[in-house]
Symmetry: C2
Subunit: 307 residues, 2 copies
């Protein structure tokens, strides 16, 4: 790997968990020479200055993108359209415009109309995150050994895609290219449906008359706590994900409900063989994930056990 920066001037619009991690990672790896950042609120802009992970902090989005070679928009997907409109006039010809949104079809639909000729629009989604948000939550290693999906629209020039790929690889990610539609199906099952289920069950536990909230918290180590982590993710981000990937999520939900009915029936009928067979099959999937390095096999995710 050469040490020359991949990007001369990087502009980051939105510097929460993802934008803030890109800034830190780009600096730590030398992937960008100059980093310009901005955020919606004066408080976050002040905080970026204090944290010092950008070379320059601008007051507006339009200002931030001026002369930038790569612009990455890292905000809730529902806000993509208006931001694209706002920055479009200032985008430099030849620049790459990208994002990190968890839905891709709607981002393509909402941003494309504003992209000027000569600007390479390449939507992206790094499949990495934590339940925390805001500029303090980011860290340089977030993308290491995680996948970043690029979803270029038809007719995108290959060298621009290669530059964006090189940028993500430089900050530690593996890169895969697919269509926006396929992305939205894959993420519906690997991320959106799991979040919806986790949000549901955590809500259910909170409203039971017979079992108190304090009991739910105390005895959460029996499995429940694994769900609470993802049900603690940012409500605005997730509202936008479900509003914008509605069709794929509803499709996956349909299949999930059928499968849950089958297992429920097996429990009701006392069909131990059906339960055993299903449980034995799912075990193998976990092994696959640990084997390809997308999770840790340390007992209990390496949680601390000493008090």
């Amino acid at each position: 790997m050469t040490d020359a920066p991949i990007i001369n001037r990087l502009a980051l619009i939105g510097t929460g968990l993802i934008g803030g991690s890109i800034a830190r990672a780009a600096r730590a790896s030398g992937a960008a020479k100059t980093i310009v950042a901005t955020a919606r609120s004066p408080e976050t802009r002040k905080r970026i200055r204090e944290l010092g992970f950008a070379n320059q902090v601008t007051e507006t989005n339009a200002e931030a993108v001026r002369d930038a070679d790569l612009v990455i928009v890292s905000i809730p997907v529902g806000a993509s359209g208006p931001v694209a409109k706002e920055i479009a006039p200032n985008l430099k010809p030849g620049a790459i415009l990208s994002d990190v949104g968890s839905v891709k079809g709607s981002v393509v639909r909402d941003m494309s109309p504003f992209v000027p000729a000569g600007v390479h629009f390449i939507p992206a989604h790094p499949v990495a995150g934590t339940e925390n948000s805001g500029p303090d939550a980011g860290f340089a290693e977030l993308f290491v050994n995680r996948w970043c999906i690029l979803t270029p629209v038809q007719g995108t020039e290959e060298p621009a895609v290669e530059t964006l790929r090189a940028f993500w690889e430089k900050i530690g990610a593996n890169v895969q290219v697919m269509t926006p539609e396929h992305h939205d199906l894959v993420l519906a099952i690997t991320s959106h449906l799991p979040h919806l289920i986790a949000y549901t069950i955590v809500g259910t536990a909170n409203e039971l008359g017979e079992v108190t909230e304090s009991e739910v918290l105390k005895f959460s180590a029996g499995g429940f706590r694994d769900f609470t982590r993802i049900a603690a993710s940012d409500p605005t981000m997730w509202r936008d994900v479900f509003l914008h990937n509605k069709d794929a999520v509803l499709e996956m939900l349909g299949t999930f409900n059928e499968d849950l009915s089958k297992l429920t029936r097996a429990i009701r009928r006392g069909d131990g063989n059906a339960l055993f067979d299903h449980f034995a099959r799912t075990r193998a999937i976990r092994r696959g994930i640990v084997n390809i390095g997308q999770d840790s096999a340390v007992p209990d995710f390496g949680r601390q056990h000493a008090p």
Copy 2:
């Protein structure tokens, strides 16, 4: 805390994850003076000898309990009744008989009939575990800062309960007493339903035509992998849990399904406010769990991010 052992002679029937962890913890903490262990298969008995976490390994369950002051049965709950029958004639008067099963009502029903007069039967359930099983999976710190629930039946003598409490506290656990029925409701929501949901969604992901298994594995860091951990738990243990805590699980499933329908309707109608409100509420529950030390706030459960 005094250094005298709480238990003179401890007998362990079943030495998988839980029994093997009790043995290691009892030895490390000095909670028991002598540890006798056995398991169903010759292979596991051989392995206990190699691992050396017991002072004595017996060939039969009946032999293991002779002269024991505390007997802990750590096997799938469906096997409790036959084992109780087998050991009953050899239990010493004044001994405490306990277990670790994840369901308590059925264990009381299945074991009680065999308990001889003069033996204190006190069912228990340590709310701690990992997805691994077998004698090699155990470790001494498993119970540290976790809860162990005791469900003594009516008329149990208080000093025996206090001795069992002291034993669990000595190996690191916090102890709470409740009825078997209440235990089964609390665990239905904090552990059994989460496992059922996780088993379901991991199965769903595995059967989709449009998204390949390799894509599910690759992009699992978006949320899915958090479910696979608990869906990798032992199939025999979980078959028994669902067969034996059927009523409470079906009740919780009913409430869960209603809540999932509500969120599904909000997605279908594009009701962003309803989604946002629900997601904001569940976030607070996660904070509660981290605050009382039942989970780690380290990003991503402290998973390793470097390759």
